[in-house]
Every structure is written in C-alpha cells, then in structure tokens.
Amino acid sequence: MIKLDRKHKNSLLVLFFTAMFILIALTPLVPGNEIETRLMVNCVGFDVDNESGMISVAAETISGGENEFIHGSGKAFSDALLNLNERYGRKIELGHCGLIVLGKDVTTPQATAILINILSDGMINTGCSVVSADVTASEFMQSAVLLTKSTGGGVSDYVSYADAYESVTIPSVLEIMQALSSKSGAAVMPIVGFDEKPSENVKGGGSGGGAGDSTEQSASQNDSASKVTEIKPSVTARVFGKESYELSEEDSRGLIWITSRTKGGLADAEMDFDGKHFILSSVVEDKKEGIKAEFSDKPVITFSIEARLKFTQRYELLDKVEKGYSIEEVLDNVNVAYEKRITEDIKRVADSAIKDDFLGLRTRLYRADPKKYREWSGDLAEAEYRFDIKVRVT
C-alpha cells in the first residue's frame, strides 16, 4: 500500500475540493432535460377582465429559434400560469423573460397584484422591463410573434434596444414596484404598440424628429397578408396611480430628460434668430439629471439638467455665420432655445404629476425631511418648481 506524506495528502485534498467545485459548478451549465420540460418565455403579458376578474397570461416563447404565441387564464395569477402549463404540457419558465407587458385595461391594483406576485415568487429577473400595451396584452403578443418570427430574436430585444439607444424610458419591474410602494404611490411606463402597414408603404432609412422615435429597423414582413408589422414609436406613457390613464405625447416628453436610464435620442427645439424661424434637431450625447426636493416655507423641487447635444443641421445655420455672426453667438442662441424647450417639457410633465405623483416627488420630499413631510398636507400643487437647465450644443 502506498503511503502518502503530508504534502501529497494536502495536494490530493486540494485536488479533491477543486474537482468538487468544478463538478458542482458545471451542474447548472448542463441544461439536459430540464430546459426541454420548460416553456422558455421571452416576453409575458397580462390582461385582467374587469367584469369576471379573470387573469389572462399571454407569452412569446423561445424554442430553438422558433417563437410561438402561448396563452392561459385563471381566476388568480397562479391559476392562470397553471392553466398555461396544462395547455402546453410544460412548465413556464420566466428566468429569461426580458419584458412584461400590461394590457391597456389593467388597473393600478391589478398591476400591483400581478407584479408583486411575479416578484415575490422570485420567478423573474428584477431587472425585467415593464411596458404598457396600447391594446390587450394578448393582441400585443400575437403581433410581437409575427414580428419576431421573421426577424428572429424576441420582442424584448427590440424594447431593450429602444431603451438603451433611443429615448424611451422603460422601467424595470423592481423600479415599478418601488415606485408603487413608495410615498408617491404612482408609477409610469411607456406605451408600446405595433403597426401593421401594407408592405409598399414601408420605407427604410432615417427616422423623423422627436424623442423616442420609431425603430423602423424592426419592421418585418407578415407573410399572410403582405403586410409588415413594426413597433410603433413609444411616445406616450401610462400612469398607474389612484387610477391608470394615458399621458399625452406632450406631457410624456419631459420624462426623457429627468429619467436617469435614458441615454440619448433625438431632441427638437424651435428658435427665432435673425428674423427667421428654425426647427432645430440634435442628438443627445450625454446628460446628467437631478431632482432635488426640500422644504422651505413650502416644498421646493429643483430640476437640474446638464445636457450635451450634437447639432445635426449645421448647414442651415452656416449662412448666418457667413452673414457675420460668430459661431459662438449662433450656438448660444441654440443653447437657449434648447434650455427653453427642456424647461417647458419638464414643467409640463411636473404639472401632470400633481394628481398622481409618478415622478416620485413626494418620496424625495419624505427622504429630505421626514418630520416636515408628516406636517405637510401632501398637496404637490403647493410646491414651487425651480429649473436649472444647462445645455451645450456642439
């Protein structure tokens, strides 16, 4: 029998532990049968019938590159998922789900109940995006499958793209629940929808002005009726407060500036200069935003934005330079025009948030001074709004 000395024994022990770690660590990397017994879902949507209270679940599955539409319903959240499992003979797996869609008729208590269920069961990534559909979630999902069948990927990929590279701010499920559970008790999410157009009307190329523009690259051919399905520009938002309702495009525009998750997008402004009216168009390259809430005689909310924009219509202003204006002078006017525009946008969205505080202003005031917050009536109409907007256009 071989007798090992202490050093070799230790080496063997280390080897044993390393092997054990590798084996255990590799276990989850071997999906095996488990994934085949699951309905891997890329995007899930919920509708609630306000009369019967029935919850409907619709989802887009990912299965070997083939995306399919699946659905189920039940009196409670868990029943709906169970029904879906029974219909398709597999268990729904939301671990890879990147998008939750709430149907247009879902109310605030219903949205809260659905999201709290999905979050507390730990079945979904807390960073999963949440949007509201302009139709029912089921209709949304059917259109989504039409789009993604042709183009590949999943609808959540398109929404993620819009979130990161355009101007649409899409909250995560955790952010929505944080907002709904906070002192403000309201949340806002973009409304996303699909368009079906006859194929000859579809044009490629650049997009028009305005923040949150369409992802035209997402247009895809719908074989059955020679139509194309494309994601509509997400320019409006739905508020979930005491009630749920839609914000207009104008009211939603300010959200882009004060939400930290948005990184860029297009920004328009109007400018009168040297007797001529200009429509300015720029790309947001960088921005820093802040909302400071404090109590003095009354609540004071200061919105501060520092943005760096890249001007995309230089040639239109070149003749001004030729007429003897300096570039700095022209750009100063452009900066002022954008500052004015951003101030208007933010003021408008802040006014919209007085009824249902979807900007989280009450939460910020509570954080600033809990004692004064308790003494305060809670009416945001009493608050004074201040704006500190600095824009640098290059």
Binding site: F17, A25, I116, G122, M123, N125, G127, E175
Partner: protein
Amino acid sequence: MDKVTFRQIMCLTFLVAIAMKMFMLPVLMMRVSGRDSFISLIIMLSIDFVFLFIVCLTLHLSGEKNIFELLSSAFGVIAAKIILIAVGLFYGIKLFMILIDVRVFFSTSVFSSTMSPVHLIPLVLLMAYFAFKPLCASGRLSEIITPIVVVSMILLCCMTLPEVDFSYLFPLGAEGGERIMTSCYSFTLWFGDFSILLVLTGKTVNTGKKVYFALIPAIIGFVFLVVFSTTLFASYGDMTEVLTYGHNISNMTQYGAGSFKFGRINMVIYTMWLSAVLLSAGLMTTFMSHAVDYTFGRKAGKLLTAVCLAVIFFCSLVFNELNRVIELMTAYFWLPSIIVQYALPLVTVAAVIVNKFKEKRTYDKARQKA
C-alpha cells in the same frame, strides 16, 4: 501538533465574519425594521468587532493554555466545565439553526422541488468530520476556501452593484428608534460568531501581537456583508412583504445575472461562498466537541458529540415548519445568545487577568521565600 498558523487565523476570521449572516439575516431583519435594518446591522457589527478584539486579546495573552485550562486555572475545574458545557449546548442549538438556514435557502431558491431533510446528511457528516479532526485541518481548509470565497464575493459585487439605486435606503431612522433596537436584539443568534474563535485559545503558532491583524479580514468581511445587505435594504425597503425566507442572495444577483434558477454564474457563486458557511458550522461543531471532550473526557466526548449531531439532525427532520422555527429562535433565543456569545469572551479575558494575577502572586511568594 494541533495548532493553527497566523494566516489560518486571518482566513478563519474572514469566513466567520460573513458566514452565517449572509443567508437569511438581511431578510429577517427587514421584516422587523425595514430599511432601518441598515442601522441595526451597523450597530451589531460594531459590537461584534469590539468582541473580536476581546477574543484577539485572549488569544494573545492566554499563552499555551487551552480554553479549558485557562478557565479551570482561573475559576476552578467545576466552573470551567459548567461554562464550557453551557457554551457547547448553545452552539449545538446554533448548529441546528444553521441546518435550518441552509435547508430554507436551498428549498426556496435552488432545489425548490427536491430539497428534503435527507439532503442534510452529508452536511451533518461533514460536521462530524470537523468535530473529530484536529483544529489544524479546519485552519488548512480555510486557507483553501478563502481565496475562492473572496473571488465569488467580488464577482457578486460586480454583477449586482451597478444596477442598484441606493437612494431608496433613505431616510434612515424616520420611523423611530424602537424598531431598530428590536431588530438589534432579536437577531443576536446570527451575530457574536467570533466567540467560536476562542476554541483556538492556546492553539496558535507564534502569533503574538500579530493576532490583532485578524481585525482586518473581519472588517473586509463586514464590508462585503454590509454592501450586500444594503443592496437588499435599498431595493426592498418599501415592500418587505415581497421578500420570502431564503430570498436574499437570490434577489441580489438577479439584478445582473438573470433568474436564480437559470443564472449560470449565480450557482457557481453560491457554491463558493456556501463553503464559508460550512466551515463556520464546522468550527461550531469543533467548539461543541472540544467542550464535551474537556467536560467528560476524550472517549465519552466523542460518543456524546456523535449523539449530539444525531439529535440535531433528528430535530431538523421533526421540525418541518422551518419558518416557525426561525420565528421561535428570534423570539426566545436572543437572551441566551447575548449571555453566551458576548459573555464568553469577557469571561475568558477575565480568566486571563485572574491567571496573570495568580501567576504574579505565586512569583512574588516564591521570591519572598527565596
């Protein structure tokens, strides 16, 4: 020679600092004090830090005496046996709590459909291994495990922290101080782990004053712990009802690594830092085993340790209402926890002082005679 080196003490301190507190403690604290758990955690960790210093003081000044010799020479054999058996019994209960912790964590987050008490058998066997092996085995194991645990912690930080909005942690203390204090004393069972390091008394190799450097890995461990717990406090401060038992680490990593069921990296990380918990539990078993050995002799001690482990496993089979067990522990075991875990370092340091005094008196008497 059953002794641990300076490096092994450093590793053991780091692992003990994080081990038991990373499982369920943050969620349990949140249920009592919401986001103010942050303050409770800082208070309790500060107290732990002070007591770690006292433990280091004992390790430094006790010389070659082991804990039994230290206590018996200061307070007499009977008193030493009573103290050690009380502490050993307490650690037995704490070990049971760890088994429950591990089971709840795995049953809610990893093996939701397959986890049963039978799965704890390997863990209990591992505890027995620790109990019957010399201390240097635990020390060597800690040297192997610590780098892996540190790497997994750093990975966890990188994946999680960029996505967290820490502003939700505030305002702190807005709901008054009562719930902060309740949270502090209710969870003492999860704190005070450093007292198990007293089993190393008289079993260190030439550490001398260097033993105080063990405070550094403790601070690093505490920083990891506070960062991860704060992530949870900030994210769920307004909606504690969303969290279920065993949900803590799972929810944190979901920010960056997908669902805990399918997140590939998460599983690797859990596996790695879980080894810290196993080692910490192993040290508790060692303490229990040593206490029984010192009290009843080596042969009877081994038998009794085996019986104790069997009883602990049996209890984990019988008590299936895991959440109820945790609630009972929180409601009734905070006082014994304070008495045992915080009094033991004070008692040992008192023993060191008494022994020094006795030695001085003996020396003076000898000199007078001479």
